[in-house]
């Protein structure tokens, strides 16, 4: 599989920025934190300290700049790979490790695999694994927001593979018909596990798919924080002005494995990855900031040390916490459990007390 397997690397061109320098620096910090976090999480999985991980390496610019262009009231419907978005929303590394470990501090009580987190107070809806399901849900939430006269948008985050799912098509169709304030933020990272983007669809771009639903579709260089920021900000402005949804295709590249269960050497060449490594969004923004005199190698070294410390401290704190209580997996099935489930819980507690099952 040659380089044709992925979208042609967008040519980096200097985009005049709509971002203030402080914003650029803050975005850079989150991107570096995300990268550092991903590297540590991958290492923890290799050491058997967490069970699974799916990194966002290579997608930081798209995720962080997108989230930066939104308002805190906007509802986000993530997939399992939106680390940068979660961090912009104020999620801490410690909260994420708590979720990965499923410890007593995990808001999800250890019920979900790593990566599948959610934080209601941040309007970051809890993720699931089935691909594409969040797309229609984001449209429904947008319909509800309109009914409530709230000036918020909803954003569905998903990948190139998800554009083949039932919900992608249903979601775009509904959004087009009801002109919902929704942003469909597709991160085309070139791959859906082992399937290259050009085998996913014969459509020339993923953004093209919007046309069939009467929705504007735009391709943006997902490694360019300025381009992503502007595209999302404009789509948001249109949405809150009642002008309807937008599909944005952020072209990025999945520099890492699909997940820790995946070995990309089986299906893609190192050469292809190298091409994209040259376009690493973090290196690109760092270079820009240094060129513009807003940043230095010394600043960078200091920041890297700082975020490494932050991540290490988060791991230390999360690992020190006790596991979720044994019977906690019985909670939250329904607001009022049916009698059969109550009986099962009592039975479980009896087996626990008698030592037949051991926590």
């Amino acid at each position: 599989m040659a380089d044709a397997a992925a979208p042609a690397p967008p040519t980096p061109e200097a985009t005049p920025s709509d971002l203030a320098v402080d914003d650029e620096l803050a975005i850079y910090r989150v991107m570096l934190l995300a990268r550092t976090f991903d590297e540590r999480a991958l290492a923890l999985q290799r050491q058997g300290r967490i069970g699974f991980y799916a990194p966002a390496v290579g997608q930081e610019a798209a995720q962080v700049a997108c989230a930066w262009a939104l308002e805190s009231g906007d509802w986000l419907f993530p997939s399992y790979r939106e680390l940068g978005v979660a961090l912009v929303r104020g999620t801490t590394p410690e909260e994420l490790f708590d979720q990965f470990l499923g410890n007593a501090a995990d808001r999800l009580h250890g019920r979900q695999m790593p990566n599948h987190y959610g934080f209601r107070d941040r309007n970051f809806v809890v993720a699931s694994s089935p691909i594409g399901t969040q797309v229609t849900q984001a449209v429904g939430a947008a319909m509800a927001a309109v009914r409530r006269k709230d000036r918020v948008v909803t954003v569905a985050f998903f990948g190139d593979g998800a554009t083949s799912s039932n919900d992608f098509h249903a979601g775009l169709n509904f959004a087009g018909v009801f002109r919902t304030p929704t942003i469909f933020f597709c991160q085309n990272n070139g791959w859906a596990i082992s399937l290259p983007r050009e085998r996913q669809t014969a459509s020339k771009t993923l953004a093209d798919k919007a046309a069939a639903y009467g929705v504007p579709g735009l391709v943006v260089d997902g490694n360019d924080v300025h381009a992503v920021f502007r595209a999302v900000r404009d789509a948001r402005a249109r949405a809150v002005a009642g002008e309807g949804p937008t599909l944005l295709e952020a072209q990025v590249y999945r520099l890492g494995p699909h997940s820790t269960s995946d070995d990309p050497r089986r299906y893609r060449s190192e050469g292809e990855v190298d091409v994209w490594r040259q376009r690493d969004p973090i290196g690109r923004l760092r270079h820009e900031l240094i060129e513009a005199g807003h940043w230095s190698e010394a600043d960078d070294a200091k920041l890297l040390e700082e975020v490494r410390g932050e991540v290490a401290e988060a791991i230390r704190r999360s690992e020190a916490k006790p596991p979720s209580p044994p019977a906690s997996f019985f909670d939250d099935v329904l607001a009022t459990p049916p009698p059969s489930l109550e009986a099962e819980r009592r039975e479980f507690e009896r087996l626990l007390a008698e030592g037949v099952v051991k926590p």
Binding site: M1, G51, F52, L101, G102, N103, D106, G110, R111, Q112, M113, H116, S128, S129, P130, I131, G132, G161, A162, S164, S165, N166, A192, I193, S194, L195, R199, Q200, T201, S261, D262, R266, Y267, P323, S324, P326, S328, F329, F330, V333, P338, S340, L341, E344, R345, F348, L351, V356, V357, P359
Partner: protein
């Protein structure tokens, strides 16, 4: 003869079926170059090419719907759904279409599609990589449901599935894909459906299980010998068609039954077994039928070892059942 694992036996059956019949082809996500996320199709892309080992776009309704079309036209498609948890975008094609083609056409359009999919927990897969929802499918008339627990059965039952004139859901116990190994004799052929296997004979309690529950059930049956209980373990192998004769014969002998599955209890396959025993073996029963199952919650991640039935829980139920009544 060499020892193979369950996943290798699946691979071998697919290879043999494809070698024997050019109408057999595979379709699914990541099954080609990547060899499947569990490597069940390893090497087949190389051997048979992209026309017969088809990497599809990410759409289960696409996979199952096109498999139906191929079958109607005369091919023998074997579809892989990457995890049973992801079969639902294709559920409509299964429930409304696949299972009804023969019937709604008065027999004109049989639909021999095989859907292979890894199922079950114990691999730290959380809510969406762990479920055992065989009951939805067994409940739907018009499809066979097969669950092997050994390499020989994985091989023989899959060969049968591919030759079957009707739709077959072939559930692969992914937790024991590699941990259970055994011999698949050279030249082994198809294993007929509808025959349960007595894993272990016993006289006091009949234990019914299938798939990934066989190893813990076997361990429990060994264990209860120390409690003075002789347990008989029966591997159902095919849920549809169910070998009711073997189920009844065992309970007529022992008078006691424990049913094990990892799916939730409520309306699980065990409810059907218990009902069959109540209807047809009532006067042989000397104790209530016991069920050891997953709980009626979604499948939890961190605490999955507490959720899944294990040898200790099964053993307790066998002993309680042996002593009841």
């Amino acid at each position: 003869m060499t020892e193979t694992t369950i996943v290798q036996a699946v691979n071998r059956a697919l290879r043999e079926a494809m070698q024997a019949d050019p109408d057999v082809l595979l379709l699914g996500e990541d099954i080609g170059v990547n060899g499947g996320v569990f490597r069940a199709t390893e090497g087949l892309f190389k051997e048979f090419g992209a026309d017969r080992v088809i990497d599809t776009p990410l759409s289960e309704t696409g996979i199952i719907g096109t498999a139906i079309g191929m079958a109607l036209y005369g091919l023998k498609p074997v579809a892989e759904i990457q995890f049973m948890d992801f079969i639902y975008p294709g559920f409509d094609q299964i429930v409304s279409e696949l299972t009804k083609f023969r019937y709604r056409s008065g027999g004109q359009y049989p639909c021999h599609v095989v859907i292979r999919t890894p199922y079950g927990g114990g691999i730290k897969g959380g809510l969406y990589h762990s479920q055992s929802t065989e009951a939805y499918f067994a409940h739907t008339p018009g499809i066979k449901v097969v669950v092997p627990s050994t390499p020989a059965d994985a091989h023989g039952l899959l060969l049968s599935a591919i030759q079957d004139p009707d739709p077959v859901l072939f559930l692969e116990p992914k937790r024991i894909y590699r941990s259970v190994s055994g011999e698949v004799p050279d030249g082994a052929g198809p294993e007929p459906f509808g025959h349960a296997r007595v894993v272990r004979e016993g006289t006091d309690v009949s234990v019914f299980a299938y798939g990934a529950m066989i190893p813990p059930a076997a361990e429990a049956c060994e264990g209860v010998a120390a409690d003075g209980v002789s347990a008989e373990l029966i591997d159902l192998r095919t849920l549809v068609p169910l070998d009711e004769a073997s189920v009844l014969a065992s309970v007529e002998k022992t008078g006691r039954a424990v049913v094990v599955h990892e799916a939730p209890r409520f309306c699980g396959f065990g409810a059907e077994l218990a009902a069959i025993l109540a209807e047809r073996a009532f006067f042989s029963l000397r104790a209530p039928v016991a069920r050891v199952t997953g709980y009626d919650t979604p499948f939890p991640y961190a605490l999955e070892q507490l959720y899944l039935p294990d040898a200790a829980r099964i053993r307790r139920a066998i002993v309680d059942t042996a002593r009841a009544g």
